[in-house]
Symmetry: C2
Subunit: 513 residues, 2 copies
Amino acid sequence: MSTQSNKPKARLPRGLVDRHGAELTATRAMLDKIRAVYELYGFDALETPAIEYTDALGKFLPDQDRPNEGVFSFQDDDEQWLSLRYDLTAPLARHVAEHFDALPKPFRSYRAGFVFRNEKPGPGRFRQFMQFDADTVGAPSVSADAEICMMAADTLEAVGIARGDYVIKVNNRKVLDGVLEAIGLGGDENAGRRLTVLRAIDKLDKLGVLGVTQLLGEGRLDDSGDFTKGARLDAPQILTIRKTMLRGTPKPMNEDPVTISETSWLDQLERDFADNETASAGVRELRQIAQLCRAAGYGEDRILIDPSVVRGLEYYTGPVYEAELTFEVKDEHGRPVRFGSVAGGGRYDGLVARFRGEAVPATGFSIGVSRLLHALAHLGKMDAEPEIGPVVVLVMDKQPERIADYMKMVSDLRANGIRAEMYLGGGGMKAQMKYADKRNAPAVIIQGSNEKDAGEVQVKDLVEGAKIAAGIADNAEYRAARPAQFAVKEAELVEAIRGVLERRAAPSLGLAD
Amino acid sequence: MSTQSNKPKARLPRGLVDRHGAELTATRAMLDKIRAVYELYGFDALETPAIEYTDALGKFLPDQDRPNEGVFSFQDDDEQWLSLRYDLTAPLARHVAEHFDALPKPFRSYRAGFVFRNEKPGPGRFRQFMQFDADTVGAPSVSADAEICMMAADTLEAVGIARGDYVIKVNNRKVLDGVLEAIGLGGDENAGRRLTVLRAIDKLDKLGVLGVTQLLGEGRLDDSGDFTKGARLDAPQILTIRKTMLRGTPKPMNEDPVTISETSWLDQLERDFADNETASAGVRELRQIAQLCRAAGYGEDRILIDPSVVRGLEYYTGPVYEAELTFEVKDEHGRPVRFGSVAGGGRYDGLVARFRGEAVPATGFSIGVSRLLHALAHLGKMDAEPEIGPVVVLVMDKQPERIADYMKMVSDLRANGIRAEMYLGGGGMKAQMKYADKRNAPAVIIQGSNEKDAGEVQVKDLVEGAKIAAGIADNAEYRAARPAQFAVKEAELVEAIRGVLERRAAPSLGLAD
């Protein structure tokens, strides 16, 4: 292999990252808690591959403007197009359609895995990220949707989000579609325009009422100078949407709408759109969901019918829901901001039908794993195990026989369940101590020729040593005291290290309560 | 979305599979055990993305004959080439080179993740599969290699492979390279030919001495009629390789070689290639590895110096090792076959140097996760949790208020840690009971209007019911007895279900001891 010229640069493509120790440990702990809730609800594990046929996935991503529509695609040897999955819902639809007769119906599954988006990356926005989904396929009633919402609430509490710090907001595409029908945007020929409107409403959080109103009209020029074409609705159409979907009574263009209660909003919709079958059906379903949740003990503080939820994906056909964190965090300028959405989902009765022709009712929910972990870190609830480094056996003598001795010590420690290693680098004493520090080693073990002759080893307790050193002002005094270093017989090494580990106080950083 | 015409077919590309419940549970349990051993040895978690720059990965796969050389590649928006990682070693080299100054040295990391090979799939050969690697980067001495071999042995025992059912075989590329130098295949100009020879030797397991000899000579015609071009060595060259690398003294072409002991083989090499510096260094390293392993208590039954190990990857530069399962399984014709290799690795001192110019010594080890799980399943050691299905609450009455009652029951059961669900499908009583059976439900809960009026629920114990049913010959008798079905007050439901679950015997299938 060439080491001289044309050296490749060691770098990752943008939007892709490496992850390390504490974050990975915390992720694993969080995934275990989510899994436990999903299993309690009767969902079973399923795993599908990262690569699928492009036509089997379909194209349902909101990012229409880019040539490859947000999906990484490539051709197989037989010229068929393959894509990396962009979510875990489209592959589930493929799986269900492929194995329809063999599956129990309803089919409850959960899936955790990486998905890939060929999008412009940004802060907290990656081209590979993990989702953790649960879906019920073959369940026509809104009981299934209500259940998913309750499970979402239970899941957030299980991972450490306190009640009051989150809310599961529920809306219904049928309400939205009904209102759009009522203002003349019904029919297949307006499908694209309806989607543009829905995606505009979906940006209420980010752009406010003014921004959304611009997107409903001619379009919007953003801060970077990019112009987004609008849905070109007229003033009365926009007004209707503002009254119903942007919540409450109309106000001057640049103010946030007045918030109204769940019941008032549903009553208003029922009254205003009594003639519209789609909207009325949507309202009925939302009332049922609320009723089921209340009966099972989930109040409006946890699951709330809310007109602001839209969800940008094209395939939703009924109830849609979003898990929002309501506590405030500070942004980079110290200003309080809400954390926002960490999960969402909805009903997609047409997705399996793509393959089978007949409708297969389905509803599901997806957690953004990194986003949720990020939120937990903000709350100080990231469940990282204390990072206990290994005990490091220093190499004082490089003769093969002595190396074998050191290796034997390490092997004995490990056989007793103690995390340990021999220093394997090429450095001297100073480099070795520096390494032990960097690894957060609780202790190092030293055996030079004097100790060897005496059948002893020196144990240096680095945690205790650091504490003592903090109380000793003078360098010379420190060296004279040789704090926290002691000699033990070779046969007593394991016992001595056990003592050091027990004395070691549990670290207080990053631990869940 | 179109449901009428041009329906896509629900199918996966070849070499890709979906995985389910028990297999996923067992995989997770196995990964936890592997992780525990790796952490005990002082390795820390690292995760790299599935997508890398093609030039950062390099091309080190053995499958030279295919146009894309076994890698899935595609272009980024800026025209740069991206690839799906084909192993976890090349991305580690990129990570280390990218963050060199910040990392502790040596850097010990473990990584579990999917890798992708654009190869011809076959039985047990997939285009996406999981590897679980551990590597030490920045460790020049063979102590690091010896340690990895010990860790491999400990890992196999931790997941349930008994001592005696596996062996970690160790060889050294320097020995192989030295022998090839000695027969005139030294120098950069012969690098490609050396690789062809090594890959031929690597096939000893599959093709036997005769097949390998053909690949060392003119080439080999396989059963399917495909001809593989050979390395075109002459007879004396082939004889030397057979004497040293194919183990023991030369025998007739189609016979397996005589096995010789570790020490005899090393002695023979030392004698025959005393003039060759590369081979001699290789022999010295192998002796050191053996010495370190023996000193730490790992005998030849667990870690064995063995000339048959080669490893097909181009980047290895020193010790190479392979974890082989030695117990026999039956093939599809009932003939006993050995399970073979489940893991392997070696030293790759040049891989980080690709980026940095200076050599960075490194050694590592990779477990084929599915292959190892498959082996455990054969041994009856697959650690699957008993598949306890959810308690299913049947829907006897579809009135919204009654649905809310059923949902409340489910919610109470879940709040008490009992896996439960309400039937969410559209079917009647028969379909609901069939569903409960298919889900392996331990019990169903029934509440029609009579029970509701009495403030009671019916509990049907399906496990007990199945046992009793097995002892009742007659259908009418069974119905009359209504075995294992009883009524309880609504308030006692949770307690009653707990009783059913406790009576339920632990299933004996698929459980580790």
